[in-house]
């Protein structure tokens, strides 16, 4: 069955929006028997301007921090009426919604064991309100609330490890994916849907406006994040690492950082140059931790 139309065109996402592409890929993988709860954020705004909607599946937006508990209610209602077998409930939203303001509610939803697929479209900042820092903004990225300046090198904190927080809840399936690897993403979504209980997939989605890169480069940038080791794409099933996409030939982080305006300041001062080394160390730690380079 052709499911490519379930997230219809005609929405108002920016050119090169990684989230719009990923949302379409997710629905192509799930098919039509889903109900989606979607928090406030770019995806919600560009897809549902009353009286128009891109959603050819049942879809609800309530607030910014409550997509997971709204999905809990949907799932509970389906259970109560014997319809849960046929329908996949999805809570999907941005990094701000899922990793920050909605994290307590998401934790409750995971802990209760609802049969819900949670998806975080990780564009690494609050984009809808104009590129403010979130808990998933990477180290040193310049955003409007963590700007680079005379005495600042951008965001001073490391990206919060939401997948490991999910693992700590005992989720049967946790994965990261990238819009740069659509087949991998497709496989992961299909696998998640086939598993009962709470599932979590975090999808890395470039935002040309927020990351300040050429809108034609979104997919390349997404792939570079994986190939440098800065965004490993992995699967953790019942607490065990079961897959990690290997890096063929290791790329230095500068290759990923240089085309993005949010990291430009790192290339403009000696202090910035020092920071590049630290970011390389972050990538190297990921490579080590997840065994991203084939031994031998």
């Amino acid at each position: 069955m052709d499911t490519s139309h379930l997230f219809a065109s005609g929405h108002s996402a920016c050119p090169g929006c990684g989230q719009a592409i990923a949302a379409r890929l997710v629905l192509r993988a799930t098919g039509k028997d889903v109900i989606i709860a979607n928090p406030t954020g770019c995806l919600e705004i560009f897809s549902s301007n009353y009286t128009a909607s891109s959603w050819e599946v049942p879809w609800i937006h309530s607030l910014f921090e409550n997509a997971a508990p709204v999905a809990s209610g949907i799932e509970s209602a389906l259970k109560a009426t014997g319809r849960l077998d046929k329908i996949t409930v999805i809570a999907q939203g941005g990094d701000g919604a899922m990793a920050d303001i909605g994290l307590g509610a998401l934790s409750g939803t995971w802990e209760r064991g609802h049969d819900i697929l949670t998806i975080c479209y990780d564009n690494e900042a609050y984009m809808n309100t104009g590129i403010q820092r979130s808990g998933l903004t990477p180290y040193d990225a310049s955003t409007t609330t963590s700007p680079a300046g005379e005495v600042s090198l951008g965001n001073p904190r490391l990206k919060k490890d939401l997948p490991q927080i999910a693992v700590a809840h005992g989720l049967p399936y946790v994965a990261t994916a990238s819009v740069g690897y659509p087949q991998d993403l497709d496989k992961k979504v299909k696998k998640a849907v086939s598993i009962r209980g709470p599932k979590y997939i975090q999808i890395h989605v470039p935002c040309p406006l927020g990351w300040r890169h050429d809108s034609a480069l979104s997919i390349d940038i997404a792939r570079l994040a994986v190939q440098t080791g800065l965004f490993p794409i992995i699967e953790i099933e019942a607490g065990q690492l079961t897959s990690a996409r290997k890096i063929g030939k290791k790329r230095g982080v500068e290759e990923y950082l240089r085309p993005q305006g949010r990291f430009r300041h790192l290339f403009e001062s000696p202090a910035g140059q020092q920071e590049l080394k630290k970011i390389q160390e972050i990538a190297d730690r990921n490579i080590e931790r997840y065994g991203l380079i084939r031994a031998g």
Partner: protein
């Protein structure tokens, strides 16, 4: 059924169960907790079949019933005070999405200072949310109004959430004789919920789209009209209630010994019981005093209230809440009801019983004699005189 001596929380929980909610969300807060505990026990004992969702906050308690209601099932939850305030963002949203969620509010003061006792500041703060609001005088009304609330909220001409407010501790924790109706009577009064729209893959719809300035106002206007329409729906539901259950219900308001009265006390909730005792006593002494109980606060039945009060010389409105910087919320609205009338009655407003302070018969008698002498603007009654009040001169 014959009335039984039961605790208010049990009566409310039994009434909620009789409405056959399919999803219930629960989060503890005094004095509401006793209600959801009763429901949990009913489910544990196999007496009620429903998905019982133990959430991690009231924000999620409201969000869970929002999601379930949008999926087309009847839902229930309850809260108080800080919990209700934490829900408030979601309750506004539920109202705007036109979902007939029904909850019981066990009324409690709001912090600070932290205080767990009764007043009505919590639900009054949700005055403008779009939720219907009913206030019970006793546990019988806590039961009856819950049944009524579902029927009105789910009426296709209304489709708004409803709060049934019961004074914390004074009702949920009190043992009173309550007639909890038979299931088949309730089924006759309250048919299964028929959603207008629901989340369903076979008929995919978008809920909660955002509206630009060229459309937003229409959505809010429709809510205002639905609130107005609810007045007649409540009246009609009240008549039907009397037919089905064979006993009366005061759905919008209750006039108590108002014929030939020249002074009327106006209030909401359990304090009306005390006020009625005062009215009886003063009547026996020949004073022409009556009481008007406001049951439905949203929609505000202002025309009925106007007609019930227009012949009065003195109206005394007792608020168990205060709009800080203005005065008693109910008093303000009663005064507004007489705006432009040729000979408006004197309307006094008093703030009483905040944070669980007793409102005694003596208090009420004192207020009456004071208000007969001068108009009280927003008088805090029974303030202590032995406490230094910093910054007050």
């Amino acid at each position: 059924m014959a009335p039984r001596m039961i605790r208010g929380a049990q009566a409310v929980a039994e009434a909620a169960a009789l409405c056959r909610p399919q999803v219930i969300s629960a989060y503890p807060i005094t004095p509401q907790t006793v209600i959801v505990e009763e429901l949990a026990q009913m489910i544990a004992n196999g007496k009620l079949e429903a998905e019982f969702v133990n959430v991690e906050s009231e924000h999620s308690a409201a969000s869970v019933v929002l999601g379930a209601s949008a999926t087309g099932v009847r839902v229930y939850t309850a809260s108080s005070s800080q919990g209700l305030l934490l829900m408030s963002e979601v309750l506004y949203n539920i109202a705007g999405m036109r979902l007939p969620v029904v909850l019981t509010c066990a009324n409690r003061s709001v912090s600070a200072p932290l205080n767990i006792w009764n007043d009505q500041q919590d639900s009054i703060s949700l005055r403008d949310s779009g939720c219907l609001q009913f206030y019970a005088e006793n546990n019988q009304e806590a039961v009856d109004l819950l049944l009524l609330a579902y029927r009105v909220a789910e009426d296709h001409g209304v489709m708004l959430p409803a709060l049934v407010c019961v004074d914390g501790f004074l009702l949920p924790h009190a043992y009173e004789a309550v007639d909890v109706p038979e299931p088949k009577e309730v089924d006759a009064f309250l048919p299964p919920y028929q959603p207008l729209y629901r989340l369903d893959p076979d008929e995919p719809l978008t809920f909660g789209a955002y509206a630009e300035p060229d459309k937003y106002m229409e959505a809010r206007y429709m809510m205002q009209r639905a609130q107005e329409k609810a007045i007649s729906v409540i009246q009609e539901a009240g008549h039907s209630f009397e037919k089905v259950f064979g006993r009366p219900i005061s759905a919008l308001m209750e006039r108590y010994r108002m014929d030939d009265a020249s002074t009327a006390l106006v209030a909401m909730g359990s304090v009306i019981g005390t006020i009625k005792d005062v009215v009886d006593e003063l009547r026996s002494q020949g004073q022409r005093v009556g009481a008007l109980k406001i049951v439905t606060y949203r929609p505000f039945p202002k025309e009925l209230i106007y007609h019930a009060l227009k012949e009065m010389e003195n109206i005394i409105v007792l608020d168990k809440a205060v709009s800080l910087g203005s005065g008693g919320p109910l008093a303000t609205e009663i005064r507004a009801a007489f705006q432009g009338s040729p000979q408006p009655p004197r309307v006094s407003g008093v703030i009483a019983g905040l944070g669980g302070r007793d409102i005694t018969m003596d208090t009420i008698k004192r207020i009456i004699s004071q208000a007969q002498k001068e108009v009280l603007e927003a008088e805090f009654v029974d303030l202590r005189e032995d406490m230094e009040l910093e910054g007050v001169d």
